[in-house]
């Protein structure tokens, strides 16, 4: 493979490309041969036996060879040609179109989000809409909110936090414990959970103030894992890995309940047919509003001195300090605010699931949220939302692909490839667009006219 980039320039010799492809095939055979070709399974006596799958290995190696050959002969030369050709300056029409797109995208998206459940109910009926509102709408919006919350820490302040899920867990367990033990309402506990998470944010943020970059990432990862391990082992409080179940549902501001047995049940009061769809739709609007609150607060904060200080901190900590910005406070506010929104999302999550266990707060969850923020283009709100839709919606969609069973046989379960594809997408997007989907963004300070600047002018994540 090493020779590919140097010897075969644009156009490339076919023989060289073929040699590269064969080499790639040999490497693929070495890696996939034993791991895919020799599957180990336990038999009835609990002994491992080997079953061979050479056909599958042959297919994979074939794909690698063909892919490599195509890359060297067509795709790379094409990309080089594109790069070499001078890009014509964008015409006035294009610029205007882009500006219009940027201006109209957010409002259109918002309107769509508000009528989304109504559309689903209209087309699919109450029962049919359940899946689309719950598994897609709510699930994606939770991640949008988490992404926007983490965006404050990673995207704006430039502090890579790999333990964000800890604050999500703090919010979820605060609600779960206080609601089940003291019967407090969601509307009281939501701000409380946010405050508790923010306090944890400050507590965990304080010791790591001096760290930067990779070190900060690893320490926050360690904190996230410590919180999860404490949740598993502190059985007296958290019930260990078994988790806390029968967490009360959210009420409609205390007026109507969604419990089937309650006298003020929503459907009973309005004489509607019983359905769980009302609760789901209510939850959908609730998380939508919470996510929008996050976005609104972030957008406003960016215009306040503290928001400016975050972005200055992200660009250059030393310069920031020499200008007299208090970096301690700046970092702690970023941690606390990010954690607070994580806490909100966590208590919503606990109420929606009705069950929390440490299983939901693994490192993988943090990695998914960080991936959403980074792939979206750090600091760009629209980008983060798009990344959440693509990554979470895309992987949820895999569960629906039943027709693949017809292609690959009955035992084929597309769901098991979910995280595999997620990881591959992370790597590929990083290679293809290291600055994320939306790398252009609005500067916070501008002189006379608003214009987008390219992400390549700012260096994120140096903190």
């Amino acid at each position: 493979m090493a020779a590919a980039k140097t010897t075969s320039g644009p156009g490339g010799s076919i023989a060289g490309a073929a040699r590269d492809a064969i080499l790639a095939g040999v490497v693929a055979l070495g890696i996939f041969g034993p791991l895919v070709g020799l599957k180990t399974e336990q038999n009835m006596q609990n002994e491992l036996v080997i079953t061979t799958r050479w056909g599958l290995v042959a297919i994979i190696v074939g794909i690698v060879i063909a892919g490599r050959f195509l890359l060297t002969t067509t795709i790379w030369p094409a990309m080089t040609r594109n790069k070499m050709r001078d890009k014509p300056a964008a015409t006035a029409g294009e610029v205007a179109f882009r500006a219009r797109l940027a201006r109209w995208f957010a409002p259109t998206g918002l309107v769509f989000l508000f009528i989304y459940p109504a559309l689903m109910v209209y087309f699919l009926g109450f029962q049919g809409s359940l899946k689309w509102v719950d598994n897609f709408g709510i699930q994606i919006l939770i991640y949008v909110m988490l992404g926007w919350g983490l965006n404050i820490v990673v995207g704006l302040a430039g502090l890579l936090d790999l333990g964000y899920v800890a604050f999500y867990a703090v919010g979820a367990y605060s609600y779960a414990l206080l609601a089940t033990h003291f019967g407090l309402s969601f509307w009281l506990l939501l701000p409380l959970a946010g405050t508790l998470a923010a306090l944890w944010g400050i507590m965990l943020g304080f010791p790591v103030l001096r760290l930067r970059g990779d070190y900060l990432a690893i320490v926050t990862l360690a904190f996230g894992e410590i919180i999860r391990l404490v949740l598993i082992n502190f059985r007296e409080l958290t019930n260990g890995s078994a988790g806390i179940s029968s967490i009360p549902k959210i009420t409609f501001f205390g007026l109507y309940s969604f419990d089937l047995s309650a006298p003020n049940n929503f459907a009973k009061v309005f004489d509607l047919p019983m359905s769980s769809a009302y609760y789901k739709i209510f939850l959908y609007y609730l998380i939508l509003l919470l996510a929008l609150l996050t976005a609104f607060v972030t957008l406003r904060l960016r215009k306040l001195p503290v928001g400016r200080a975050w972005e200055a901190l992200r660009e250059d900590e030393i310069a920031c300090r020499s200008l007299g910005i208090n970096t301690t406070n700046t970092k702690l506010t970023a941690f606390a605010l990010g954690a607070m929104f994580g806490g909100f999302a966590g208590s919503f999550f606990a109420a929606r699931q009705g069950f929390v266990s440490p299983e939901s707060f693994t490192f993988m969850e943090s990695a998914v949220i960080v991936a959403i923020v980074v792939l979206g283009g750090m600091g760009s709100m629209i980008g983060v939302a798009l990344a959440a839709v693509a990554m979470i919606g895309g992987t949820e969609l895999l569960r629906e692909l039943d027709f693949l069973k017809a292609v690959f046989g009955e035992g084929f379960d597309p769901d098991q490839f979910r995280m595999l594809i997620f990881g591959l997408a992370m790597v590929l997007v990083m290679i293809w667009k290291p600055r994320g989907f939306v790398s252009a963004r609005e500067p916070t300070v501008f002189l006379n006219e608003r214009k987008s600047i390219s992400g390549s002018f700012v260096k994120e994540g140096h903190g």
């Binding site: 890696i31 791991l35 399974e41 070190y215 990432a217 391990l229 995280m419 992370m426 994120e460 994540g461």
Partner: protein, 305 residues
């Protein structure tokens, strides 16, 4: 005393395994300044390769000598894991060199997800138990019905680790490749100007790190007799802790850190609480990074404007 001795033996065994993995972290960090997050999962994949070939040798090919099978398995695992890490570096990290600082870390996290889920899909999510090998033990001390013992497996782990570390030390200190690696670590641009093939050196660094991880994987498999697709994360983070504790970038530091982490973990579970042994390891990571980021044997990082 017996308990102490027993914990000491167990701790050194565990520490050897952590030390071998930690070298992979510390070398890569030293040479390209990147936390190779996928290294723990490379270790896990190597344990799977070892498991598959051990099974192939003993059940299908009928090799009767366990020691011969283990040596062959270890060499195969080293070669194949080296190949794997070479391919990973080519595909996922090299295109990102010179990109912004967090890009390789994110890519490595993605790669770590890919590796563990690939193994889950390809080999199934269940534990893979091997029949016990080398199950004999030597009793060192016995009192009040508690015997401090050292098993043949533990002796094997100590010997293999010591031999490999000696060989590795020789490669880094005395060969042209080691010289190139140390040159790249000091100044990549200058090394390139002086005729060192930087790309090749970095590739070989990944291969060497993976080979040592493969040794650790084989030893881990023989020691515990079971491996699972999710076994990469925790040993990986602990080995990274070891590398940080010893001073990241320093090779003797990685081994020292590995031994210390292994000892702390076993003594903690022996004397305090087995539930919180991972919490202890993670807390050490946090404490060391906060109060002593240069580690025990590392150089302090000077911040330049």
């Amino acid at each position: 005393m017996e308990i102490f001795l027993q914990q000491l033996i167990n701790g050194i065994t565990l520490g050897s395994i952590y030390g071998l993995i930690a070298i992979g972290y510390t070398m890569v960090f030293g040479i390209i300044g990147m936390v190779n997050f996928a290294h723990g999962d490379v270790f896990m994949v190597s344990a799977f390769i070892a498991m598959i070939f051990f099974l192939l040798f003993t059940t299908v090919l009928g090799v009767s000598s366990v020691i011969m099978a283990l040596i062959a398995v270890m060499i195969i695992a080293m070669v194949l894991t080296g190949l794997l890490n070479w391919a990973i570096e080519r595909v996922a990290y090299r295109p990102l060199r010179g990109s912004f600082r967090l890009a390789p870390l994110i890519s490595a996290i993605g790669m770590s997800i890919v590796l563990s889920n690939f193994i889950q899909v390809a080999q199934g999510p269940r534990n893979k138990p091997l029949p016990p090998v080398l199950s004999g033990t030597i009793t060192l001390m016995e009192r009040n019905n508690f015997a401090a013992t050292i098993s043949y497996k533990q002796i094997l782990i100590w010997v293999v680790t010591a031999v490999l570390l000696a060989g590795f030390w020789y490669v880094v200190q005395k060969t042209p490749l080691g010289r190139a690696q140390r040159a790249c670590e000091q100044d990549r641009k200058m090394a390139a100007l002086l005729g060192v093939n930087v790309d090749r050196t970095i590739s070989l660094t990944f291969v060497m790190g993976a080979a040592l991880a493969a040794v650790a994987g084989t030893l881990y498999l023989t020691y515990y007799g079971v491996v699972n697709f999710s076994d990469g994360f925790t040993p990986g983070v602990k080995a990274f802790t070891a590398a940080v504790l010893g001073g990241i970038g320093s090779l003797p530091g990685a081994v020292l850190g590995g031994l210390l982490i292994g000892l702390i973990e076993t003594f903690w579970s022996g004397y305090f609480s087995i539930d919180y042994k991972d919490v202890a390891a993670f807390s050490i990571l946090a404490i060391v990074l906060i109060f002593m980021p240069q580690g025990l044997l590392g150089r302090p990082e000077v911040e330049k404007v």
